[in-house]
């Protein structure tokens, strides 16, 4: 396993923005990976595994976020998290519950 770092930019498309429920789903997914996950919005950088930190970003619909993952499973983490955001946080819902 190699230590890698990957970055991808996504746009929040769900109308309510990154509110409590999407943030919860995001954190749940992020915690499944061993890699460190960080979210960058403009100049703010927060821990992607902390729901409170994510919420402080107040990312509304249309906000550009870059997701950064660093660690053994960085690529997989990034794929999964980007997909979650791009699918309006709906994809994961069924497997979650």
């Amino acid at each position: 396993m190699s230590e890698t770092k990957a970055t991808r930019t996504v746009v929040v498309t769900n109308p309510q923005g990154l509110h409590a429920r999407p943030a919860d789903l995001f954190v749940k997914l992020a915690t499944r990976f061993a890699s460190r996950v960080e979210i960058v919005k403009d100049r703010e950088r927060v821990d992607g595994k902390s729901i409170l930190a994510l919420l402080t970003l107040a990312a509304a619909e249309g906000t550009k976020l870059s997701i950064e993952a660093e660690g053994p499973d960085a690529a997989e983490a990034l794929d999964a998290l980007a997909a979650l955001v791009e699918h309006d946080f709906a994809e994961n819902e069924n497997s979650q519950l």
Binding site: Q16, G17, H19, A20, R21, A23, D24, V27, K28, D47, K49, S50, I51, L52, A53, L55, T56, A58, A60, L97
Partner: protein, 579 residues
């Protein structure tokens, strides 16, 4: 140190420990722990987190079962917040590095987040504040556990800081330990103001939001004279206020020495100084200051403090206590004056314009059984002393006659049952609505006395909601229109020889004493703590002097000029109060 400016509603200065009255009245018992206890405290924190998480899981499952999966989702987010590694490490760090108690660390850390969310403009994010408070509450409930202290069970002196206080909260508080109030909401004349005045403790209201920065336990100064609140004062400020507290104390002692003297002007005119009271035991405040009677016994708190409507016996007991304590001095009992701002949630049917709505005597006339119960209790108690009945907020003659009819009915009923009562019980009404002044000659013909409720009279005359911060600047006792209405009422009193009293906040304000005596008042009903001060003023002046002041004041054009003129005049007779 942080300074907040609010509205000064009850005078005095107090320095005390903050008791934050939100998050269900939790109180942080202590802020620091001993260094060697840190590990143990961290374990306690761990247990609180585990228990709170279990509780949330329980709620989530119950809600999901009853309402469906998607409704359980909000708890899912709460759970996630509770498990937030960043939150946890921040709290633990505060305990480890600063020796904060877990309670204080939880409260401070979460409040910092609440503040961040509060500052965010987007709508749904603001709701996160409620989530944060919810989590705080859950953790504190575990941490403080059974030691949770409500406002009704205090053990040491505190100052209450709250968003807003409901009447039932203020009624149930333990007055032995409450030394002052600060509320984010409210204005002059809000019930917090009235209660603080009755308790004779300093209060500041309408400061705007600040509670998210306070955890409880901090030192707070309330300057009820200037409307200032100072959180965690620096040494210099603290020292300044300590000296002020001392000055207040010595002034009180000086006034105390006036106790045995009557309120008599230099030219020998005796002024009747009555007290306004809320609770039966406030009578002591009046007696201690040598009040000549009770000019206004507000009865709302009988209704607000209890879960159910007070029955006749409970009311009879309350009225009897006051009457017996006052002996043959008059006690004016005002019938229920539940105002829009004092209604409990259950009764408030969301009127669009509550101050012009179903309140006070209107409410009584709509709820005849309740009204009759109150009148029966008063009339029955009347044999024990010098009881007088007063109807509030009378706006038409018909209303007054209806109220008197219900009273006559109650009396007849008592007579039939052979119960004792005082036949010559005096009946009066409040003059609070401009219509009552316009037709004062007709109203006065049907009652034994009038009492001007200046607070409402000002509000209705100037069309100002005194608890609305945006317009409260227009609310002025010294407005020329208000003075003219008071003068008109007074003239009717002189023509008929019937007594007229003034019982609003205006009467207890030294600025207006000369004016009121000059207009012809020989009776003032004031908050008990103001009796000595008003008495001191009465003993320095002559009636012709007051009459000259009143005639001049009536010619002035605006509230500000009148007020500054009156202040000037007061300064002349009472130079020591000028600072």
């Amino acid at each position: 140190m942080q300074k907040l400016q609010g509205i000064a509603v009850s005078p005095g200065v107090v320095i005390g420990e903050a008791f934050v009255m939100d998050t269900e009245g939790f109180r942080i018992p202590r802020r620091f722990v001993a260094r060697e206890a840190v590990d143990e405290e961290l374990e306690r924190l761990e247990r609180a987190f585990v228990a709170a998480a279990e509780e949330i899981v329980g709620h989530r499952d119950a809600v999901a079962r009853e309402l469906g999966q998607q409704y359980g989702a909000i708890f899912e987010a709460h759970l996630q917040m509770l498990r937030d590694p960043k939150l946890r490490s921040e709290i633990e760090q505060a305990i480890r590095d600063r020796c904060y108690s877990p309670e204080y660390a939880v409260s401070r850390t979460l409040r910092r987040y609440a503040k961040v969310f509060q500052a965010l403009e987007s709508g749904p994010m603001a709701e996160r504040v409620a989530d944060i408070f919810d989590i705080e509450k859950r953790l504190l409930r575990r941490l403080v556990g059974r030691r949770r202290e409500g406002i009704a069970h205090l053990t040491s002196p505190v100052v209450i800081l709250a968003h807003n206080l409901t009447p039932s909260e203020t009624v149930n508080l333990d007055r032995k330990f409450v030394r002052g109030f600060v509320t984010e909401m409210g204005g002059a004349g809000s019930h917090t103001a009235i209660v603080a005045e009755a308790l004779e403790i300093p209060a500041v209201v309408g400061t705007g939001p600040f509670l998210s920065e306070v955890s409880g336990g901090e030192r707070v100064i309330i300057d009820g004279d200037q409307g200032l609140v100072i959180l965690q004062p620096d040494d210099e400020t603290l020292d300044f206020y300590c000296r002020m507290v001392e000055r207040h104390r010595s002034n009180a002692l000086q006034l105390e020495s006036l106790r045995q003297f009557p309120a008599e002007t230099v030219d020998g005119v005796r002024i009747q100084l009555h007290g306004n009271i809320e609770f039966p035991h406030d009578v002591q405040h009046c007696l201690e200051r040598g009040a000549d009677g009770i000019g206004l016994y507000r009865t709302e708190f009988l209704y607000l403090g209890a879960a159910t409507e007070p029955d006749e016996e409970a009311q009879y007991q309350a009225y009897s206590g006051v009457l017996l304590a006052m002996g043959d001095r008059p006690v004016v009992i005002r019938t229920l004056d539940l105002g829009a701002d004092k209604l409990t949630a259950a009764q408030a049917d969301a009127e669009r314009n509550p101050f012009l709505g179903l309140r006070s005597i209107r409410l009584s006339l709509r709820n005849l059984p309740m009204f009759r119960t109150q009148l029966r209790a008063i009339v029955r108690a009347s044999v024990l002393g010098n009881a007088q009945i007063m109807f509030p907020l009378i706006s038409t003659i018909l209303e007054l006659r209806q109220a008197k009819m219900v009273l006559a009915d109650v009396i007849e009923d008592l007579e039939e049952h052979g119960l004792p009562f005082r036949r010559d019980i005096k009946v009066g009404m409040m003059v609070e609505v401009p219509s009552a002044v316009v037709l004062v000659d007709r109203f006065i013909a049907e009652v034994d006395f009038l009492s001007i409720g200046s607070n409402d009279l000002i509000q209705y005359t100037l069309a100002v909601d005194r608890s609305n911060k945006d317009v409260s600047g227009l609310y002025a006792a010294s407005d020329p229109a208000v003075l003219r209405l008071i003068d008109m009422t007074m003239k009717a009193g002189k023509q008929t020889g019937k007594p007229i009293n003034l019982c609003g906040q205006m009467s207890g304000n030294p600025t207006y004493t000369m004016l009121l005596l000059g207009l012809g008042f020989r009776q003032l009903s004031v908050t008990p703590s103001a009796i000595p001060e008003i008495k001191r003023i009465c003993r320095r002046l002559t009636i012709p002097q007051c009459e000259a002041v009143a005639s001049r004041a009536l010619t002035l054009e605006n509230a500000r000029d009148i007020k500054s003129y009156l202040k000037e005049e007061l300064k002349r007779i009472l130079p020591e109060t000028a600072e």
